[in-house]
């Protein structure tokens, strides 16, 4: 990379430090595909929110865990989970997004599968995560989707489901709304999760901040399900 330019008589001030910032050997430049690229161009704070929710999930899940990321898209969040938790498998039906993910994140701790989660058999994981997925699942398939989440975790596993809130839809973009066919209120999401998990903890999110405040005023909902009911 080009060395820092001279500061022309202002020696104490250096350029942005570059010497320690080269990608690790064998690591490719990170590509932002059309999905994440669109965020940055049109709704740049969305990238912040998504990364923050994945960070929240990673911290809850903890270390040395195998994590399944359903609807991984371009895999940035999957990589965060793999890096923080131990290992991760991302699954998404979007071929172009999975291609970007595979190109970006080449590491023994991470894998990607292109396919339909409802028809796949990804296996048993310590935790399953999905953000911005269930609102794209038709209501008549949502119970199957949640059941599949529960089936793909170990008995004492954890499922984290994040979705835009019903109340937040008034402010959603046309592109977002075009794909939303099943938007949840906090109450409905909690009730749905309780059918599959013995303990459900509800979190609200406003922008990048995840909290335990009043759910109807959250723009985003995160439900954490623990201990799947099929083990009862």
């Amino acid at each position: 990379m080009t060395p820092p330019a001279s500061t022309a008589g202002n020696a104490p001030f250096s350029a942005t430090q570059a010497s320690s910032s080269n990608p690790p050997e064998g690591m490719p430049p990170v590509l932002l595909g059309r999905y994440v690229g669109y965020w940055f161009d049109r709704t740049p704070r969305r990238a912040l929110y998504c990364a923050s929710y994945y960070k929240f999930a990673a911290r809850l899940i903890g270390r040395e865990q195998r994590v399944l990321d359903v609807g991984c898209s371009e895999g940035l969040g999957t990589w965060l989970l793999a890096n923080e938790c131990g290992s991760a498998l991302g699954i998404d039906p979007d071929k172009a997004a999975v291609q970007v993910a595979r190109q970006n994140w080449r590491d023994p701790r991470i894998e990607f599968t292109c396919g339909d989660f409802l028809a796949a058999e990804p296996g048993q994981y310590d935790a399953v995560v999905n953000f911005d997925v269930i609102e794209h699942i038709f209501p008549e398939h949502a119970e199957d989707f949640l059941a599949r989440l529960a089936e793909n975790i170990v008995a004492d596993g954890m499922a984290i489901v994040g979705t835009p809130s019903l109340q937040g839809q008034a402010y959603a973009s046309d592109v977002s709304k075009a794909g939303h066919v099943n938007v949840y209120s906090g109450e409905r999401l909690e009730a749905a999760m309780r059918r599959h998990f013995r303990h459900v903890f509800m979190f609200a999110a406003n922008d990048e901040v995840v909290h335990t405040g009043f759910l109807p005023m959250a723009h985003y909902l995160i439900a954490v399900g623990c201990i799947r009911r099929t083990t009862c």
Binding site: T7, S14, A15, A18, S21, M27, P29, R45, L76, V175
Partner: protein, 217 residues
């Protein structure tokens, strides 16, 4: 539309068709950071959102040390123009390739040179990265000369080193005479709060209305 849709996958393909082709290739600095610690993206964008809300809405903005421009989409989203300045040519080339737009531009240049114009706001994500060994007073002189009389500035300071306490005091001392009022914030794990101590991973100072700079010229 939903009457025609038979599967969720078909519905999703219709959404992605609306996105266009806006792919980007990040430069070596941010590629490296994302490979090593992807949480860094959330942290730097959280800082950018705070700075944008405090000082960028409807204002002309200069980002000192813009690096590869990753914060520029948020900083410029509701700004009246954004200029990113960095002395690293390669970083600016990456920024231009990815983030140039009618409301954003990037300039290679020494960070201490006097301004070609002034701005309503100056922001700097990490004064430590651009101010290695130099006094914070020198930095503040640069910031103030870049600012309009009703200007605002947002300065971030990483506190991850042992010298955090001293660094915070020196930056605060440099800011105090440079602005009519300075607000102090801390940031931990991407959350901004009002506990501006070494316990914060980053401190953020918001300078409001520069004091006269006549004595500095």
């Amino acid at each position: 539309m939903t009457n025609e849709v038979v599967t969720e996958i078909e519905l999703w393909s219709r959404v992605t068709d609306m996105l266009g082709d806006v792919g980007k290739r990040l430069g070596p600095q941010w590629s490296s950071r994302l490979h090593r610690d992807p949480i860094q993206l959330a942290l730097t964008l959280a800082w950018a959102k705070f700075a944008a809300k405090m000082a960028c809405v409807g204002r002309s903005v200069l980002e000192l040390g813009c690096d590869e421009g990753i914060r520029s989409p948020i900083l410029s989203e509701h700004a009246d123009g954004y200029v990113g300045l960095d002395s690293n040519e390669a970083a600016i080339a990456t920024a231009e390739a990815n983030w140039n737009s009618p409301r954003r531009s990037f300039v290679v240049g020494p960070l201490l040179r006097g301004p070609q114009r002034t701005y309503q706001s100056v922001v700097c994500h990490d004064v430590r990265s651009i101010c290695r060994g130099a006094s914070y007073e020198s930095l503040l002189r640069t910031v103030v000369t870049h600012l309009d009389s009703d200007g605002l500035c947002v300065l971030g300071l990483s506190t991850s080193e042992d010298t955090a306490q001293d660094d915070i005091r020196r930056l605060s001392d440099a800011c105090a005479p440079a602005f009519h009022r300075v607000l102090h914030f801390g940031m931990n794990d991407g959350l901004v709060h009002t506990r501006c101590t070494p316990a914060a991973e980053q401190v953020i100072l918001l300078g409001i209305f520069p004091q006269s700079t006549e004595q500095d010229h």
